[in-house]
Every structure is written in C-alpha cells, then in structure tokens.
Symmetry: C3
Subunit: 115 residues, 3 copies
Amino acid sequence: MLGEASKAQLAARLTATHSEFSGVPPAWVHVIFQEYPAGNGFTAGEPAAAVALTLLIRSGRSGEYKRDLLTRIWESLQAATGAPDDQIVIAILEGAPSQAMEMGKIMPDVDPSRH
Amino acid sequence: MLGEASKAQLAARLTATHSEFSGVPPAWVHVIFQEYPAGNGFTAGEPAAAVALTLLIRSGRSGEYKRDLLTRIWESLQAATGAPDDQIVIAILEGAPSQAMEMGKIMPDVDPSRH
Amino acid sequence: MLGEASKAQLAARLTATHSEFSGVPPAWVHVIFQEYPAGNGFTAGEPAAAVALTLLIRSGRSGEYKRDLLTRIWESLQAATGAPDDQIVIAILEGAPSQAMEMGKIMPDVDPSRH
C-alpha cells in the first residue's frame, strides 16, 4: 500500500499527464485510490498485490492518443508502486460525452484538435 | 463521509429515481457506497473529497433519457453530500443487456416504450 | 463478508473459469474484492448485502461466449456467497484491446479461435 506522500505524488503526476494530453483543465481530473487489505487481491488465482487502474474518459480520442496515454500512465504507476509487470493492469473505459456530467453540466465533446 | 441515515436516504432516492425513469422494479436497482479515507481522493492533483458516481445501465436508452437521468441524479447527489460542483462527477457506463445477469437470468432488452 | 479461505477459493475458481473460456494464461486474470461495511449496500432502496461483480474484458467475444461465461460465473459466485438471486448482479464491461495494457504491453486482439 502506498504511503500518503506517494499517493499525493502519483495523483499529481497522473493529473498533469492527463491534463496535458487531453487539453482539459486539471480540475476536470479526479483520482481516487481504492485500497484493499492483503487477502483481497489475486493474480493467476494466487494472493497478490495487483494494481488495477481504470481510466474513465469521453469517447472520441484516436487510437494513437489512447496508446500513448496508456504508456505514460503505466510508467508513472510502475515507478510509484514498484509493482512488477505481471501485477499491473490498466484499462480505458469510454462513454459518450453526453453520458457524463461534471461542473454541473453535461460534458462537451472532445476538442477535435486534441484527440 | 455521509452518515448512516444520509446514505440510506440517498440510496432510497436514487433507487426511486432510477426505477421511475427506467420502468424496472426497484429490486433491480443496487446502490453501493465505496468510501475512502482522507488522503485517497484528489481533484486537480490536490487532496479533495471527490464524489464519483458510476451508473451501470443497459444500452438502448435515448440521449434525452440519459441527460435527464444524469441531471436528476446530480441534484440528489449534491443535496445529500453538499459537495461543490467541481467535486462531483457522474458517468453512465453501458453494456448490452445480453452482457449482464440479474435475478439468475441474462437481462432482457430495455422496454422500447421507456427509453 | 467472505472469510479469507472463501475468497481465495472463489478467486481460484473465477480465474480457472476465465482462463479456460478465454484461452489466456491465468496470469492475465486479476480478481479484487472490494468489500464494504454493513450500511453501504442497498437493493430496492433497502440495506442489503448486494454482490456486484464487474468483469472487464477485451471486446471481440461472441454473444454466446459472454452468456456462457456469465452463467458459469453466476454459479460460482452464488455458491461462494450463498446470496439469493435478487442480491447478485454481474455485468461485463468491454474495451477495445488497444485500450488496455498488461504485462507492460498494449493488449493483443482476442484469439479468433476462442471467441
């Protein structure tokens, strides 16, 4: 489990990466750590400190954008956790902008110049 | 973090809203609060009591249905938590009805008269 | 809440089922239990020990594959938890293989002979 300083540092880095990639203000980026006690995580059916990051974004980004973003996040996540390759999994989940709400408003489409 | 009574009240309201919108029995609506301690939530890279609600529904609803539902849920969530606009995010995730199982059965398609 | 042995047994069974169905090595299967205290789960707006399993897979599997997988997982989940039918919900969420990263690599497409 990461210490308080490590979580803050990782959250700051993920936020900066995501904001830079997407062209949206940092205030649109939320990071939540859902920790679990030993005995609740498994890889290959054996107890393990599996690190799973699910990234929820608006649909409309190109494949290249998503691959580059995943690679950058992987590096930050592995640097922060020290987890080996077989204990990390990252997935992007997408939803139409019209299916999400932030700042009290239905979200706008992605900026076509930053996809 | 919400107290026990506030969570029960919010769950009841979300369930009523969702059941009314979707035309499905309340027993098909499940609400789970995944709380986290201070230091695990971040907005704009800074520690924050971010409120993230992910709504998992069957695909097949119209854009108008989803926008109206989001707006109603936002109001309930903000009334219950008192969180400012920049600390709330709500996203709808969809899956084909055939990809979900409830009551021991693969889920039926959405009622075309209630979309 | 499941005991340590029950969680390990369920994780082993889910991993074996998923690996057998998908044709991927068990090391690609991660299981995480996100427990919650009494008072945080609701069904039909009333406090309940709702069991929600979200399964995140690569897109590209057939409808039959997904229905069979859901049915098998339902059986394992109900056997392990003893939860009644109205307290279990299982949903498959999909993402393009190019949107996920594991073992340090962007994920490959699904094996067309195992869909």
